[in-house]
Every structure is written in C-alpha cells, then in structure tokens.
C-alpha cells in the first residue's frame, strides 16, 4: 500500500511510539494506584510526586486530590519520556501497524479492567503478598 510514486516514504514507527507511550502511561497510573492503596507509607510516597500540582494537599470542605496527583505526575512523566525516546528510536522504522493495532486495543482493555477493583484487588493482594505486604 506504499505510495511508490510518492516523494516521501511514511514510517509507522512514530505512530507506534505515540501509542505505546500511552499504554505505558496508563499502566503507570494503574500500578501506582494499586501501590498507593496498600499501606499509608506507600500512599505518602506516591503522593509526594504530586505536591507540585495546586490542590494536591489540604483538607477541609474544599478538599484536595491527594495521592491522585502523584499518580498523574508519574503517568505524565512516563508518557512524555517514553514517547520522546521511542519516537527518536523508531522515526525511520516501519513496524507492522496491523499487529500493533491488536496489541494496543488488547492492552487498553486489560488496563481498563485493572481499574475495576472487584476484578483487580484479589490479584493485587496476591502480588503484594509475595512482597510481604499485607
């Protein structure tokens, strides 16, 4: 399907880089979320990354977003850093978009299910148990 007569060749690498970085960001969001729910210390650790966001700390009626800010910060960092790295690595690479589309959609579905606590909590607690966290 490549345009033989076209002046420029298109590479699918940047497309894969842009979307893979999204999967990694969403995964970071999921992992940091589950980690923050295990103990108070872990929650504080995740929260610390988000202190730069206005409204990340505080109490009272106006509230704050709490450790959600840290999860967002970590995801944002992973997203932009991995996008940049993969983009420059793959900007002249032609990867199979057909295979990648399947992987991308499946990955998104799995990550989405990971945010559904009745499904994910038993798995998270099992993994945490392996690390001796109860």
């Amino acid at each position: 399907m490549q345009n033989e007569s076209g002046a420029q060749k298109l590479y699918s690498g940047p497309l894969v880089a842009a979307s893979l970085s999204l999967l990694l960001a969403f995964l970071t969001l999921m992992v940091s979320h589950h980690i923050s729910r295990l103990t108070k210390e872990l929650d504080k650790m995740v929260h610390a990354y988000g202190h730069w966001i206005p409204g990340s700390t505080g109490s009272g009626p106006d509230g704050s977003i709490g450790s959600y800010s840290g999860k967002e910060t970590l995801a944002l960092g992973v997203w932009l850093a991995s996008w940049l790295i993969f983009h420059f690595l793959w900007r002249k690479q032609d990867l199979s978009v057909r295979a990648w589309t399947r992987f991308f959609v499946t990955g998104l579905v799995l990550i989405t299910l990971g945010f559904f606590h009745p499904l994910s909590d038993p798995i998270v607690l099992f993994i945490a148990g392996l690390f001796g966290i109860h």
């Binding site: 979307s19 969001l29 009626p61 509230g63 959609v105």
Partner: protein, 192 residues
C-alpha cells in the same frame, strides 16, 4: 420501484440541522444549569459539566468522521485534524476541570463522605474506575491529532495508518462516554 440511495433534499437537510441545533442547546443547558445551583462549588461544577458535554458532542461527531478513515476512504484531512485538535483541547479542559471538582468531591462532608456512609460501592468501585478512565480520552485524542499532523496528506496512501488513527478516535470516545456516564451517575447521586 428501485430502492436507490436516499439523498437528503434541501428540506430534509434543514430539518436535520434544526434538530441538531435544538438538541445541542438543550443538552448544553443540562450542565450549564450547574452554574446556578445553590452550592459554593457551582462554578467548578458548571465548568466541568460544560466541558464534558462539549467533549462528548465533538467526540461523537468525530466517530462519524473516523469511519471513512477506518474504511480507507478519502477524507478531508485538513478539516478532520482541526476537529481532532478541538476535541483534544476539550478533553484536556474536561480532565483539568475534573481534577478541580474532584478536590471538593474528596473534601470534608463532600460527595465522597456522603456516598461512603450510605452506598460505599458507588465510590469504591464506580468512582475509583471513573477517575482513571476519564484521564484516557485526552492523551488518546492528542495521539490521534499528532498522527494526523505528523503524517499529513501522504497518509491517504497508507491505509493501515489511517485505520489506526480512526480506531484511536473511536477508543478515545469510548473512554469519554464511560467516564461521562459514570460522572452523571455520581453527580446525580450526590452533588458537590
């Protein structure tokens, strides 16, 4: 009589346009009414509601633009990428204002406290799900916008790339709708 393609005539188009305009205005009134609710957080609620509805409207329109892209048909790329860019900005506004209103949701005697005391699963399952999937539409739409601008016109010769962009738009809309419906349920259950 042969059943050919039905083409909308002038009258048909006018009816459809008026119908869309009425639906759009009435739909917008739904969150715009938040500005006048008797709460200290009416501004935050109104901004989040309006940006969410606008993102839904533009996102839904874009699903129709995504279909020809997925089928490998010629599309008006210039106009498409302007719409995708607009959808990206609206989704960003929805996420930022969502963070803003989320503060009050978690505040003292806010919706979270109220829900946890009465129907905890609406927070423990629904909100815990919603707060994260609602972050997905913006970066997904940004990725689609990036691809449309990065590849530009020559994209028409790569059906696989066009299809991927179309799929990304549809996925972004799906998460938007999930977050939107969950948000409506929570706001209806206990307003800020």
């Amino acid at each position: 009589m042969q059943a050919g393609d039905y083409l909308h005539d002038h009258f048909g188009k006018t009816v459809i346009r008026i119908q869309v305009a009425i639906a759009f205005i009435l739909l917008l009134l739904l969150p715009a009414a938040n500005f006048f609710y008797p709460t200290d957080y009416s501004l935050k609620a109104g901004i989040h509601g309006v940006s969410a509805i606008l993102a839904i409207v533009v996102g839904t329109y874009l699903t129709h633009r995504a279909i020809p892209l997925i089928k490998g048909m010629q599309v008006r790329l210039e106009s498409l990428r302007h719409w995708v860019l607009a959808a990206t900005l609206l989704n960003l506004a929805g996420a930022v204002s969502g963070n803003w209103i989320y503060m009050r949701y978690r505040g003292q005697d806010g919706p979270r406290d109220w829900i946890l005391a009465r129907v905890p699963n609406f927070h423990n399952v629904l909100m815990e799900f919603k707060e994260f999937v609602s972050l997905f539409p913006f970066p997904l739409m940004l990725a689609a916008a990036f691809m449309l601008y990065y590849y530009g016109m020559p994209m028409q010769y790569r059906r696989d790339i066009g299809r991927f962009v179309g799929v990304t738009i549809l996925i972004s809309w799906s998460f938007l709708l999930l977050g939107f419906a969950a948000g409506l349920v929570l706001a209806k259950l206990r307003f800020v």
